[in-house]
């Protein structure tokens, strides 16, 4: 199986605070990997290191075998290969739904306006937001914003999608619509790395589950193992706390 992303001995400190400690991890092409763990365990930091929103303090991040931390590596080009969905949506407030999805296609990928709009419409349909192309972010509900944000990331046609707790900032009644979109995407064979507190999603949709605790990967394996037969005491303890 082809490894799209491989992380070797990744360390990250904020000042004296060591947040990630010797992380080793990979994502295969077409795989859906869920990352679970308590708040503060370093899940977001790991995701943000992968697309270099945070600068790792040490280790290697290989994208298709190339170390992207090499000075010579073009990080702007690399970032277009990864789509990122944030907890807080982070839509561009000065752009409507459609141009949220076209601006980076046009400016970064140098696609024409028509081509960018066609691509954007395709993905806005996928997330069920094609009727709202004229809406500004402030006119949309949280769930709608997040679906536009997913379409925006997909419009770059990335190799991997990174999700950082995409449903955590949503009102409960809107969680379903976003999870449904993510489930559909998982079925298309898209490579996805999802930080989530939705245990059902992690169990039913992912091929592999990674449990993080205090800056290390405490356990990883297929969902059946993590949820039915966790090997580590820490995993059991976390699941007991979160599942009842």
């Amino acid at each position: 199986m082809e490894k799209i992303i491989e992380i070797k001995h990744l360390n990250k400190s904020f000042g004296a605070h060591e947040v990630l400690k010797d992380i080793n991890f990979h994502v295969n092409k077409g795989e859906v990997v869920s990352i679970i763990g308590s708040s503060g365990s370093g899940k977001s930091t790991m995701l943000r290191c992968i697309n270099l929103l945070e600068k790792p303090s040490g280790g290697e991040i290989l994208y298709k075998g190339e170390n992207i931390l090499d000075e010579s590596h073009n990080i702007y080009n690399y970032r277009t290969k990864l789509g990122m969905v944030f907890q807080q949506f982070n839509l561009f407030n000065n752009h409507n739904a459609l141009s949220n999805c076209t601006v980076s296609q046009i400016k970064v990928l140098k696609r024409s306006q028509e081509e960018a709009e066609a691509v954007a419409m395709k993905y806005l349909k996928v997330v069920g937001m094609d009727q709202y192309i004229n809406a500004m972010p402030r006119q949309l509900s949280g769930g709608q914003k997040q679906r536009v944000a997913i379409a925006r990331a997909l419009s770059m046609e990335p190799d991997v999608m990174l999700f950082d707790e995409p449903t955590s900032a949503l009102d409960p009644e809107m969680v379903g619509e976003v999870l449904a979109v993510m489930k559909d995407l998982a079925k298309t064979g898209l490579t996805m790395l999802v930080v989530t507190h939705e245990m059902e999603f992690a169990r039913d949709v992912s091929d592999r589950v990674v449990f993080m605790d205090k800056g290390v990967i405490a356990e990883e394996g297929p969902p059946e193992q993590i949820f039915n037969n966790p090997k580590e005491e820490r995993t059991k303890e976390f699941l007991r706390r979160i599942l009842d």
């Binding site: 277009t80 094609d130 006119q139």
Partner: protein, 259 residues
């Protein structure tokens, strides 16, 4: 003060008042526009993320130092002194006589630029960093992020402060009479010196200044409101296009609840 005298002065000197007001307005507009551009440019440079090491770090540190010095100096000294220093300083050092109007526009622009730089910085900082990160994550560089995402929002947010700078400039260009720019205050002094009707002449001038600042304030307000744009959007693919505001509201409502 007699209103009869005001009338006589207006009849005899209105072209000078108008010309003076025109120059004042012209210098203020150019100064505010160029100053805003300077401020936006500095805002973009000062928010470039500084890397941990390498030559880029050194260059950015030096650039930021120079910009900070410029801002502090022009904010910390009176424009009247700046005008004298630049006009006579340049004339003395390079042996050239600057065009007074050009010098005036230059001084007001760089003075406004120093104030606008701080306003723009505040405007950039006040936009949540999530949008910047989202743009980064999509592969945009600092300049692309600034021009496509941040600055359009910053410009909207700082419009009131920019309007305020414009009004300040209309009033403060009066100090440029020290380098004999024929703006409104300079012309007023000439008229007063000829007629010896100080109260009447300055009464007229104060009215003209007030009309200018008041009108500018009003125009900017309505411009701001326009920029805020329509409150509603159309659902695409709906055969019934929206005709009246009530319909828009109703359709939106349906959609919120029916979805």
């Amino acid at each position: 003060m007699s209103f009869e005298a005001v009338k006589v002065i207006l009849i005899n000197y209105w072209p000078m008042f108008v010309r003076g007001a025109g120059i004042t307005l012209f210098i203020s507009i150019i100064g505010t526009i160029l100053g805003s551009i300077i401020g936006l440019g500095i805002g973009v440079v000062r928010t470039i993320p500084v890397p941990d090491k390498g030559p880029k770090k050194v260059i950015l540190k030096i650039a930021n130092g120079i910009l900070a010095a410029y801002i502090e100096f022009f904010r910390g000294t009176p424009m009247m002194v700046q005008a004298m220093f630049i006009f006579y300083g340049v004339a003395g050092v390079f042996g050239v006589q600057l065009n007074r109007l050009m010098a005036a526009m230059f001084i007001v622009s760089i003075n406004t630029g120093a104030y606008m730089a701080e306003i723009v910085r505040g405007g950039i900082v006040s936009i949540d960093s999530g949008q910047y990160e989202a743009a980064e994550a999509l592969g945009m560089n600092h300049f692309q992020t600034m021009t496509n995402v941040m600055l359009p929002q910053v410009i909207r947010n700082i419009l009131p402060a920019t309007g305020n700078e414009f009004v300040v400039n209309i009033k403060d260009t009066s100090v440029l009479n020290v380098i004999s720019v024929t703006e409104l205050f300079f012309n007023t002094r000439s008229i007063a010196g000829t007629t010896f009707k100080f109260a009447e002449v300055y009464f007229i001038t104060s009215i003209i200044y007030f009309i200018m600042t008041f009108t500018v304030t009003k125009i900017l307000r309505s411009f701001e409101r326009k920029l805020d744009g329509p409150k509603n959007y159309n659902i695409i693919g709906n055969q019934m296009q929206v005709e009246r505001p009530e319909d828009i509201v109703r359709k939106d409502d349906d959609h919120w609840h029916g979805n």
